[in-house]
């Protein structure tokens, strides 16, 4: 099973690395560390359909 874990995480890390390397947008204004006190409403997607 340890081999399975290593394979699972190798695939996951490879996919994350590929995604980070080839995403069309590479720069953004970093959001404040905490949403509370930031004065900004979350613009991320959520399961509730937003």
């Amino acid at each position: 099973m340890t081999r399975g874990v290593i394979l699972f995480w190798s695939i996951a890390i490879a996919l994350i690395a590929l995604d980070s390397r080839y995403s069309p947008v590479a720069f953004r204004v970093e959001p404040p560390a905490l949403a509370i006190g930031s004065g900004e409403i979350s613009s991320s997607g959520h399961c509730s359909g937003r």
């Binding site: 995604d19 590479a26 970093e30 560390a33 949403a35 004065g39 959520h46 359909g49």
Partner: protein, 378 residues
């Protein structure tokens, strides 16, 4: 040494994500570790909690969930009420898609032996059935999101009852105010817990058995997850979710394979179209999901390494896992989320759709448990 080998990748991952994506994604990864460790360490299963109630009349999983929901509501309602410009809840309308999606999700999660969070934490803790269910879940979430607007156009049951628009959420805080909304929510949590205990105690009495006492893991699991839930709300500005990230992973995969999603009814519009072209590490739900997967592995391996001879499930069980994952992914998008985003997040956001999700998913689970027994899934 083994524990160091478990912690080291977590620290390196946190540093890498903080460096490349920012402080907030780094904090969300840490919260994801916490969610995974709490879910796996406490074996806080929504699926097994319901199944134990249905088959063994063991109410404590359901009671643990109601404690969790009540604690999350207690912590979240004041934040949602007082910081409306910075924190948004998981509010959604009561539509036919919600009813159908919750029914199918409740049914499927019993076959896959894991709901949204359950599939994630079991996949992280190296369950082969959950590994099989995960790609299905990802594909289903992508497709379900893509079809969501068409399903929502079917309307909802409230149109027949009072002619109300089925596209508007029923937000208890907006309707009744925060105190009444909290009283209603806590009252419903207590009612579900009391009914579960009463039904179970009666069944045990008729069989001349004593109802076992609640396992501590349900209590500390509920407290730990509720604290993490509130912290997630403070950091992300939105409730903890699972399936949005999975759908995004699917959309990114299909997009990478050449599918044009620019005209898609969901993935082609803001903010989802933006998420699609940004690195996945910028997405709130994706980062929390990655943390959850690894946190579950840490908790699973902390005390002892998993035996190398753990038996693999049969091929038919793996196929059922893939199909159930697909159904869960699709239905969870119709239902505005899984047990985390809709059931926990919806109720703890004072949205009535969370309670509707709970009711129909539980009905689906009753049939799912029967199907599970017929399919001889252990």
């Amino acid at each position: 040494m083994r524990r160091l080998l478990l912690i080291l990748p977590a620290v390196l991952g946190w540093l890498a994500i903080t460096w490349f994506a920012g402080i907030r994604p780094g904090l969300l990864l840490l919260l994801g570790f916490g969610f995974g460790a709490a879910l796996s360490g406490a074996r806080f299963g929504f699926t097994t909690g319901w199944r134990n109630l249905i088959t063994q009349r063991d109410p404590w999983g359901m009671v643990g969930q109601m404690i969790l929901v009540a604690l999350c509501a207690l912590l979240a309602f004041p934040l949602l009420n007082n910081f409306q410009d910075e924190i948004v809840g998981a509010v959604a309308p009561i539509t036919w898609s919600l009813v159908i999606g919750a029914l199918v999700f409740g049914f499927s999660m019993q076959l896959a032996d894991g709901c949204g969070s359950g599939t994630m934490y079991k996949a992280g803790a190296s369950s082969p059935t959950s590994w099989a269910a995960l790609p299905g879940f990802v594909t289903g979430s992508f497709l379900g999101a893509s079809h969501l607007s068409a399903w929502v156009h079917l309307g909802g049951p409230l149109e027949f009852i009072d002619g109300a628009s089925s596209k508007q959420p029923t937000d208890l805080i907006k309707i009744f105010g925060i105190q009444s909304a909290l009283l209603i929510t806590l009252g419903l949590c207590v009612a579900v817990a009391v009914i579960s205990i009463a039904v179970s105690a009666r069944e045990h009495r008729t069989k001349a058995r004593q109802l076992p006492s609640i396992a501590p893991r349900w209590l500390w699991g509920a407290i730990a997850i509720a604290v993490l839930y509130a912290l997630h709300l403070l950091v992300a500005g939105q409730p903890w979710g699972v399936v949005y990230g999975l759908g995004l992973w699917g959309a990114k995969a299909f997009s990478a394979l050449g599918m044009d999603l620019s005209a898609d009814a969901f993935w082609g519009i803001a903010p989802h179209a933006d998420r699609l072209i940004e690195p996945v590490l910028w997405d709130v739900t994706s980062v929390t999901n990655i943390g959850l997967l690894y946190g579950a592995l840490i908790a699973d391996r902390w005390h002892q390494p998993k035996s190398a001879t753990t038996p693999w499930p049969s091929a038919s069980q793996l196929v059922i896992g893939v199909l159930a994952g697909l159904a869960m992914g699709y239905s969870s998008r119709l239902a505005f989320g899984c047990n985390v985003g809709a059931y926990l997040g919806g109720i703890a956001s004072a949205s009535l759709h969370g309670w509707v999700w709970f009711a129909f998913a539980f009905i689906g689970s009753i049939f799912g448990v029967r199907a599970r027994i017929r399919a001889k899934i252990v």
